[in-house]
Symmetry: C2
Subunit: 311 residues, 2 copies
Amino acid sequence: MAVAHFADRLAAAAGRVGNPVLVGLDPRAESLPPGLISGSGPEAAARGYVAFCRGVIDVVAPLVAAVKPQAAFFEQLGPAGCVALSEVIRYAASKGLLVILDGKRNDIGSTAQGYAEAYLGVGDASPWGADALTVSPYLGDDGLTPFVEVAQARGAGIFVLVKTSNPGGKRFQDIVADGRPLYRHVADYVETLAHQTAGQHGYGSVGAVVGATYPQQLAELRQVMPHTWFLIPGFGTQGGSAKDCAAAFDDRGLGAVVNNSRGIIFAHSRKEFAGRIGPSRWQEAVEAATREMIEQLRAETPAGRLGVSNS
Amino acid sequence: MAVAHFADRLAAAAGRVGNPVLVGLDPRAESLPPGLISGSGPEAAARGYVAFCRGVIDVVAPLVAAVKPQAAFFEQLGPAGCVALSEVIRYAASKGLLVILDGKRNDIGSTAQGYAEAYLGVGDASPWGADALTVSPYLGDDGLTPFVEVAQARGAGIFVLVKTSNPGGKRFQDIVADGRPLYRHVADYVETLAHQTAGQHGYGSVGAVVGATYPQQLAELRQVMPHTWFLIPGFGTQGGSAKDCAAAFDDRGLGAVVNNSRGIIFAHSRKEFAGRIGPSRWQEAVEAATREMIEQLRAETPAGRLGVSNS
């Protein structure tokens, strides 16, 4: 059965909920609300991660378009964590959420194809069942095209690292060659792939990761990457604001999803919420933090044009 | 219990067997010798991958220093593949082999630390139990230092992609800034980290992936990266020869491991062996291909100085 184009599905999902919020699922044993992990060892922690992520998903599924599980924190538990990751992806999909797996995978040729076939494709199309995967670009053409081909064939997407949110990203990404920083060279290639794979809304199956912490570069990249959907990390805990993300959207409010991980899933620990919402009511804190971020983005970016918010 | 420095352990292991061969474990269902996968579905394939990799390990453990499982092909089977990968790593370690996991992981800050803590460290030190992990450098400083710190603390290593073996690698790696290609900028940073973490033999916990398919760059990088152990892909199937790898070694025959995946593990399909060694005797083909590569490297590179080979 043919699945619709990834970027069109993402646009429809953002339009349905009226906002571009992406909730990052970054479980860490030491930050979970109390009582979710009973017992010791990786299997117990993995069960706790599933329970926690299901609890987050139950709250955010009616409010947002997509979630972004972070593979590292699941893999940190060993094979038991991989089983948990799979369960979390399936559960999010069953609740109608798009799933962008943050795995930053990368390799060449048939090995890249192996990763792509592993993760890309909902339902029975792939063993993991994600709608999209983050990908790292250092390996070049034959490191990216196998992901693009599998994504296109399966109605899935990839987000290629272009300008990341971290301070150290500049060491290589900002190196200037032929008058342009490296991230612009990567951006140009990603835009070519996005253009070649564009769907009905003008956006390709290939997106880009561009940090909220560099608003000027975000605006520059939006200009030169008109067919590229952005995944924006760095909101909240890392210092990026709604206003910083404004330039990432087109006039319809499309073209970007903005991720928040810790600021939402561990909202019970944030001082704004900790006073009035105790850790046992952590899901209320998740909901309050999600609604707060939705309102900020709707108020301060073109995402407000996406339609009536549920919040 | 403190584990010895990774590069010192690698030097000792190469010295013990008298060669720098690294056997890549890249199981693919369609290439396995017949009869190893019984039944259908990912669990059956995963059992077949474990049986196959154990069969390869049994043959190569007395002959070589290390194996390099390719994470992609295991992940392609879903969570069952992750369980299989874990079993393969543990089995290789139990046979005295060093395990370099080819996962090309990368992320920033505490997420990078998550990957590092997941994979790096033998025995009970980490849930996966690898001696080393390949890492992709696009995210810069704070994408690499968390891996370095965990590696140092646990007697483990990382190999950072510098100049890869694939034709498309040049798209970004060869972009010239300040008179030097990007891979040289990455090389300089990796060498700094290697120097900072150098062990008794002068090599650091941080190594570099440098392809056999670019012998000129291999020689150039050996000059500017005196503290960096190289992991060299591209031998055999991708076109790199023993002579192409010669410049990667120091005068003692140390400083590089040369990987061969398909050329060894699927040797039963190679025309040189298929005629005289049938698929049911595939382990004999693995042994013949391994001994052939050992002899080539000992004859045509300074690795011949490592000591008396077992072959």
